[in-house]
Symmetry: C2
Subunit: 529 residues, 2 copies
């Protein structure tokens, strides 16, 4: 009897300890406010997750040796797409997408189709294509002025003069049968703009190696995207596909590093303000379209970015450029960032002086362009990339892009929790770029249990294949017994809460979101009970 009492006491202490350990979790703050329906839907989802962990994830799948929930995305994707959990999450309202590089947001197949419609787009090679170099000998694209259109008809013909431009359509049509003909051409081009499993998990299985491949995808795709007639359609598709995945609002990062993009006339002559005019026009069109269809879409704002290899002196030009754009398009410019591989490029401290200046100038000009810095996207401990976290926070960053190494820093975790600095966590990106080997090794639970606000993001979905946000939400739900539907709901709400929308806009967005959420809960109960 005494021992029964002791055991009961033990179990109650234990429940209290677990609750206290989880008390910082942001969904915990609303746990008691959840509707009966949400509690029911949460338990339905947990039941399906548990059942699928024992069935589909334990079955034999050809060419997937030992699958598990949260496994390497590029290998596991085929299984993920067969699960009920994925089907359920694809319907989930996702709130805001706060971390995505615009140039990597649209399906590579779609981009290639857009390009095929443009006679100006040409392709070339500097080295002859062979079966052995097919995956490393990458196509170079660019739009040409009409006067320079080429009459060459093949990249793979023995007579092809290396380095010469060939019209895209002709190059595709004449692609040699030994390389798979036109379908082989598509595969080759798409392969050059995406990362495949044998690269991520085999040939390029370290952070340094995979970044080489990752960077090369941008070099290829930029030749297609940064062409005025394609750019507008690219942005449109980004909006539409995001909305289709249940995203309400987007804050893409646009890389303003080159000062011009190619115009319809094939000349490098479209300045940054024209990019924003295009963005604004397409945004209005898509908003109109969605309003007509009665679908929720709050809008989009841009995080201005340049690259971390410029000098601090060169940064001054971009700061002026960003300020000028903000004055002309105050509703579009939402923040400022510097991007690129933190492990290889300049640390934030190199730019501290111009960035401190930038803050002063903003005050003087009466504009507000918050810093929203990438920082800590690294495995390093005390390396420059890891140290970037201190600078990001001291410089007043509104959110942290990635913050993968933040979990190592108790003081910074506290600061993020207390000051409400959200972390833009990109689970699939982190895994493919080899910061973590699977979702099970990802530090996200550390952030959640410490009450750091988190928004889930896709980063570069066209390169990784994680279009929309469903895949990233899937990985987070599948890899944890703590996370449930209410966790995902909190992450989605927080993506709105920590966006750069103003108070009024946030309130409006939250109203839309809560309506969507309630419908979603009802849907789960009606369809999956």
């Amino acid at each position: 009897m005494a021992s029964l009492i002791a055991l009961a006491q033990y179990k109650s202490q234990r429940a209290a300890l677990i609750a206290e350990d989880r008390s910082h979790r942001r969904e915990f703050r609303r746990t008691n406010l959840r509707s009966e329906q949400e509690i029911e839907a949460d338990s339905i989802v947990r039941r399906i997750r548990a059942a699928e962990a024992e069935t589909i994830w334990k079955e034999d799948h050809s060419s997937i040796p030992h699958p598990f929930p949260g496994m390497e995305f590029l290998t596991g994707k085929a299984i993920i797409m067969k699960t009920k959990l994925f089907e359920i999450l694809s319907k989930m309202p996702k709130g805001a997408l706060l971390h995505a590089h615009l140039d990597a947001t649209v399906n590579a197949e779609f981009l290639l189709q857009l390009a095929m419609e443009q006679p100006a787009i040409h392709v070339r090679l500097n080295e002859a294509l062979t079966p052995a170099n097919l995956s490393t000998n990458l196509p170079q694209f660019r739009p040409l002025p009409e006067a320079e259109f080429s009459s060459l008809s093949s990249l793979t013909d023995v007579s092809y003069p290396l380095g010469s431009w060939v019209p895209l359509k002709a190059a595709r049509a004449s692609f040699a049968p030994e390389f798979g003909g036109p379908e082989g051409f598509d595969k080759w081009v798409i392969g050059s703009m995406t990362i495949n499993p044998s690269e991520a998990y085999g040939t390029h299985n370290t952070v340094a190696k995979i970044w080489q491949k990752f960077t090369s995808t941008f070099i290829t795709s930029t030749g297609l995207i940064r062409f005025e007639p394609i750019y507008s359609e690219y942005i449109r598709q980004f909006f539409r596909s995001s909305i289709d995945d249940g995203i309400l609002y987007v804050e893409p990062r646009i890389n303003f590093f080159p000062k011009f993009m190619v115009g319809a006339d094939g000349q490098d002559n479209i300045p940054h303000r024209e990019w924003l005019v295009m963005f604004d026009r397409v945004l209005k069109e898509v908003k109109g379209e969605m309003a007509q269809q009665g679908r929720g879409f709050i809008g989009a704002r841009i995080i201005y970015t340049t690259l971390r290899f410029i000098t601090p002196e060169e940064l001054e030009w971009y700061i002026e450029d960003c300020m000028a754009l903000k004055k002309e398009f105050p509703h579009l410019i939402a923040g400022f960032d510097l991007v690129g591989d933190e492990n290889a490029l300049r640390p934030l401290i190199d730019y501290a002086e111009p960035l401190l200046h930038f803050r002063e100038k903003q005050k003087e000009a009466g504009v507000d362009i918050p810093f929203i810095f990438h920082a800590g996207e690294t495995l390093g401990d005390g390396t420059e990339a890891d140290i970037n976290l201190y600078d990001a926070i001291l410089l007043g960053t509104k959110r942290i892009g990635h913050g993968f190494s933040l979990v190592k820093h108790p003081k910074l975790i506290k600061t993020c929790r207390e000051k409400g600095i959200a972390v833009e966590v990109c689970p699939i990106s982190n895994e493919i770029l080899r910061l973590t080997s699977s979702m099970l090794m990802h530090p996200l639970p550390v952030l959640l249990n410490n009450g750091v606000p988190v928004a889930l993001c896709s980063d570069d979905p066209s390169v990784f294949g994680n279009m929309g946000l469903t895949y990233d939400y899937f990985q987070v739900l599948a890899a944890s017994e703590v996370n449930g539907l209410s966790t995902l709901g909190t992450l989605a709400r927080d993506s709105i809460e920590f966006s750069t929308l103003n108070a009024e806009e946030k309130k409006e967005a939250i109203v839309v979101f809560e309506r969507q959420w309630n419908e979603y809960i009802e849907h789960i109960i009606n369809h999956w009970k």
Copy 2:
């Protein structure tokens, strides 16, 4: 000018923030107490680390595609052993080894040699050996009574009756040339007791798969180790090789799961108390040997363990057994633990009732056998293995074995820091058992920056090939820019501080350690400046 002042202010805020973030680190508490010599030695080691990161770790190594400091141990070991850093660390005084399973502490080659000297040891196979099944068709060993010695002479002859015992020596001598002859036999046997890189990083590259291989190594080696004449020599070699690596004191876990081991007469008749008699005798002999040689060795104590697949009712027998051994050998029994794959076996909560009992009984009997539980050796988030951490702490564990998932639990981290519950961190074990893909992904920096006491441990070095503690210290030093020589010194000191030695013994051990440490610092300055 104003901007220069702003920048200077910024840099001083930054230095203060970094210092505050690291202020919990345990070596930080003595940073200002370090001798000039230690500061110099620390900077020598940092310089060598940085130089080697740019040289040997960036060179081409045949069959190691893209090496980096902290990489997969089994692949990188050949490079590690060529570094100056390794040479330096092999001389370092290591303090105490607090987490090692005795049955996996002696080099497999050495064990095989010991076995070769024993005519009683026999080997058998239940399935015919083929080139295809060589790595999965494992030898079974056991000592036989003299009356049952076999006259068979080959395992690989076509006439071999499957399941029959063959004397070890004969089996080796006659091992068929197609399997490599006697050297092939050694390779086959050693391969069955160790994990190789293609298993860890290829065929068994998940936690669940590698545990199957890991468990099988124990099944094989137990047939050799748990034989009275071998056991003593095995313990002796464990002590000697530990001392050779600079270890002062050891606290091995002994698995008391089977109630008897095989005696010299080939019968299963040696009870637990006899194991301790042997342990005690060998310990005294080795202490005498070391005292004669003037080498530091404080001694050894045993953590009594049984396995997590027994029932709570069966546990009562082991508790009684442990209590009886503690009464007879109070200087040898140091703690109590339950071992085995936490992801697959029973959680601690299943044993809560007998364990709470155990505490009561200890009080009544006036003995103190602290719990030193394995807990959180898992990638799970909120799984039973992860939840074990709550139970370990609530049951009053003195230290935590592994605690790999502890970093997810803010409340438990605080408890460990404040109550001085040390974590036995086993970096190489965690990596080979696929909790982390490299040292760069290991959560150790989170523990260190949160001021959780840590002792580095080798876990099962005969299986992993990380004999001694030099390899584990190497991985910790190589994979971080924060960690330096003073960090390693603090880890070594803490291994003594958080051992089960009493206050008097600790003081004595620390005196020896500090003398060794000062000699070591001098050695670094004299040889490596």
